[in-house]
């Protein structure tokens, strides 16, 4: 996938988010916002356990989900916590549909929006099978919440860049750096996949606990995630699609079918003319 970079291509990197050691501290959310100057996303108390972020969006590039399970006296309580992020898909529909070339595959194999090229058309928003990429609507606030973010209506799309700028400087992404328990691990994707397999084996040997990998399979609907997970329950429990498929997967086939149909139509029309001249 990085052939076009020639000698500038780097080893593909990504995240392995091991939710079995996530303590729900949200340091990843804060570190991400601090580094990337992502604006505050609204002071709304949701009542959804300790999750007041609710979902990924233009102003939330890391989101820690909190899921309370079990009933005291019936079974053991569980409180699942998981830090969600852009999956940096191998087959990324957002990138496929972008008409301006703003969305690119970087030399690290990550998917990044170039904010100076994005024209805010929003095609990528419905294309993402995870609902990650999102248009930014800044609240009109005077003075702005942060001195560096002075723009009001933005309109462009934003998402995790896997800290492209930090990677260029030889640093790991801010969320991984801040994570106190190494729940968020950064590294070459191949290494992470191996590490994840070993981790899964260990957990399953100890006590299965519902442990499973999510997004590590290169043969899945998006060709494997660049940022994949170890979950302790079904993906749906965390608000994740169980079997995500790149939304542009059927496009070539559709175009082929359309082309054949068009050809047939042209041929038919031509035949009609030919026949008519008789």
């Amino acid at each position: 996938m990085l052939d076009s970079y020639g000698t500038e291509a780097k080893e593909r990197v990504g995240f392995f988010t091991d939710t079995s050691v996530c303590i729900g501290c949200k340091a990843c959310e804060v570190a991400c916002k601090e580094w990337n100057l992502v604006p505050e996303d609204g002071l709304v108390w949701t009542g959804e356990s300790y999750d007041n972020t609710s979902e990924l969006g233009a102003n939330t590039w890391r989101h820690v989900a909190f899921i309370e399970q079990g009933e005291p006296e019936v079974d053991a309580l569980r409180w699942l916590m998981s830090s969600d992020v852009c999956k940096h898909c191998t087959h990324a529909a957002c990138l496929d549909v972008c008409p301006t070339g703003s969305l690119i595959r970087t030399e690290y194999g990550t998917v990044v929006v170039q904010e100076d090229i994005c024209n805010g058309c929003g095609y990528c928003v419905p294309a993402c099978p995870f609902g990650v990429i999102d248009k930014r609507h800044l609240p009109r606030q005077d003075p702005p919440a942060l001195p560096l973010i002075t723009k009001k209506e933005d309109g462009r799309v934003w998402k995790c860049t896997l800290c492209y700028d930090r990677l260029k400087g030889g640093h790991e992404p801010a969320c991984a750096k801040a994570c106190p328990t190494d729940s968020i691990q950064f590294g070459p994707l191949d290494d992470l996949r191996e590490r994840a397999e070993r981790r899964l084996e260990k957990l399953q040997a100890q006590n299965a606990n519902g442990a499973r990998l999510y997004g590590n399979d290169p043969d899945d609907g998006v060709g494997g995630f660049g940022a994949f997970f170890l979950l302790l329950d079904e993906p749906e429990v965390y608000g994740l699609p169980p079997d995500p498929v790149v939304t542009t997967r059927d496009l070539p086939g559709m175009w082929r079918t359309a082309a054949i149909a068009t050809g047939a139509l042209i041929a038919g029309v031509a035949a009609a003319f030919v026949g008519g001249s008789r």
């Binding site: 303590i23 505050e40 002071l43 009542g47 300790y50 409180w79």
Partner: protein, 849 residues
Amino acid sequence: MGSNMAENHPVGFQWVMEARERGARIFHVDPRFTRTSAMCTDWIGIRAGSDIAFLGGVVNYILEHGRWFEEYVKHYTNAPVVISEEFADTEDLDGLFSGWDPEKGKYDVSSWQYAGMEVHGAAGQREEGFQPTKGEGSGHGGHGGGLKHGEPPEEDPELQHPRCVFQLLKKHYARYTPEFVSETCGCSAEAFVEYCDAICDNSGRERTGAFCYAVGWTQHTVGVQYIRTAAIIQQLLGNMGRPGGGIMALRGHASIQGSTDIPTLYNILPGYLPMPHTEAYGDFQSYMDANTSPTGWWGNFRSYWVSLMKAYFGEHATEENDWLFKSLPRIDDDNSAYWTTLQMLDGKVKGYLIAGENPAVGNTNARAHRLGLAKLDWLVVRDLVEIESAAFWYDSPEIESGELRTDEIPTEIFFLPAAAHTEKDGSFTNTQRLLQWHWQATEPKGDARSDLWFYFHLGRLIKQKLAESEEPRDDLIKALRWEYPTHSQIQEPNAESVLQEVNGWEIETGEFLDGYPKLKDDGSTVCGCWIYCGCFTEGINQTARKKAHWEQESYVAPEWAWSWPANRRLLYNRASADPAGKPWSERKRYVWWDEAEGKWTGLDVPDFKEDKEPGYVPPDDAKAEEAIAGDHPFIMQADGRSWLFVPQGLEDGPMPTHYEPHESPFDNPLYSQRANPRRQQFERPENPYNPVANEPGAEIYPYVATTYRLTEHHTAGGMSRTVPYLSELQPAMFCEVSPELAEEVGLEHGGWATIYSTRAAIEARVLVTDRIPSIEVQGRKTHQIGLPYHWGTRGLTTGGSANDLSSIALDPNVHIQEVKAFSVGIKPGRRPRGEALPAFVEQMRNRAR
């Protein structure tokens, strides 16, 4: 227990996670199922305020089932020591120990002594109204004991004597059975026994276990005794002074450990030296006599003290003038923060300086604090932002209700912006006594200045103004050494020069000292804090060392920063070897006696006189550390042993006893003495108390409330409610209630609740969750209410202050407030506004009469 480590100490918690990953079993015993519980292998839910019942049950289990570590207990603790025959236990006196004076409301501790000994020093010379023990107000306990040499007069090595500590302990805890624990704490007896087995199995020669606690243990009217109970368990199981053992006081925020070592407390000087007292110590000699323990390391008290005076006053402190002892300021009472607030309410305090605190939100009965501040002549607040304590005069619940009127408040308020830790150099001292240096990352903005800048220039200006003064009262300020180099445009004092003074030097050579054994009592050494001596050895800032553990040979990682004392990472580590000096096991080897070299050695700096043989027996006239036998690792104690039974140093008993919280819906199942008899109470109009237990009106406040912090906010909120990235993560005050309580009173998830005590009412969003289950206590269904305490009227997210609800009722040893267990009522809906709010509180109060 008593801590929510994953939420409040997430960085330190990484090591707990690592232990879990390596197979350690981690229990969380807490009223709520928190993020910590979620990470632990086991969670046991208990009633807030019942921890001594739980831990006492563990003590009983250990003794009943013979699970104690015999050799350790016999040699290293005071289990064999015979106690005075005048001693009587709570089991004999229905909840009181001998020596209780109902008139004075306090104990005479003389009957708690070792048999055949008189009471020594400070503990025996306490004056009316105040007890200037070694650690008064800091909880650092009495270390004395009038031992002629390090050995107690009467011992029974077989632990059979009916008055030996071991037998007293057995008797004291005999009724703390698993059934008692279950009925009192509300957990199942099976879960409790499983817990007991787990920690016993994980102790002994081959294994060790640790306790971690935080303010969930301390903030009770019996807080010190909570920790004492854990100490008894750890001594019985042989888990002190050994790797992987111990009792960790989790404290890292705002360098809380550092601010007791070099204290911001009123009653101690740096290194836990007691503050002179108007009555308790007459002249210099009696101060010295009272505080110099004849045996143990406190025998060198004079060296520590004289060196401190040389650091303060340089050439002005001399042997002839008793090192200026006579001129030093004195305390004359419990001069703690809460006492001062009550004096404020009485109009007896003119001026007040608040730095790094927000009492109008963070202290218990915050309302009383706001009312007190409104009676001052002047108030200085130094903080990052204009916090509630600086804004109460125009923005507070009392202004809203009309109880305070801005134009009637006489207080002149000065707000001085403070620099954040990123804007200054300095050190933090954390849980494990590790001093870690940090560097300034950016210049403070505008008028914001560091604390160091503020106090240095304040002192400089005062000295300047008083330079010509002839008044004797100004002598001390004139004598102050105040020589710190400054740099940058704002003349920031050099923080390292302060650390140098803290470390100390020999006056003649100017050489930095490498440890406290070098301190002299003749005025030839300077040292700002004896326990920190060595942190600037060889002129190098040892606290700034940042060599990662994976770059070091030893897992103890001695080259990361510097820990007091003497860069020793584990205190009393001689206990990691058996009495003969051999490691208890290969697996747990740490410090041991090297026969060939004739000295102690190991992975850490041995906490023992290097060449003292394990078989050393002190001669009769031995003093200080020479009086400690070779097989007694606890060298700060006069007898070199750890104390299962505390003969002196505690206000409320030599052994921990289950007492109900000051405001509890329950009677004490053990005794007619309901709560800690020695607790400090201050009943007055600003601080009324809820009716409790079976008193009429108790049913108005029937629920157990407990306050806590969230990861997303910092204490009273001054540093987090103003930050958008943190405020959005927890944007509203909420309360946690069980589905059963919600149903009982009609609370709706996501809606509003009004929570009230006899002092105040606040509102909060309702979070109905199974994580705070209702429990069965003494046969009664009991509901608990969880209240984060971060909110106030200022900042990006505002809300009711949980501390408005709680009362000023304090632990007698350290004067800490009981906010981890108190009683409240709750009803659906938002609180009344304006004048209707105090009217509502009064209405409920009247109903409870």
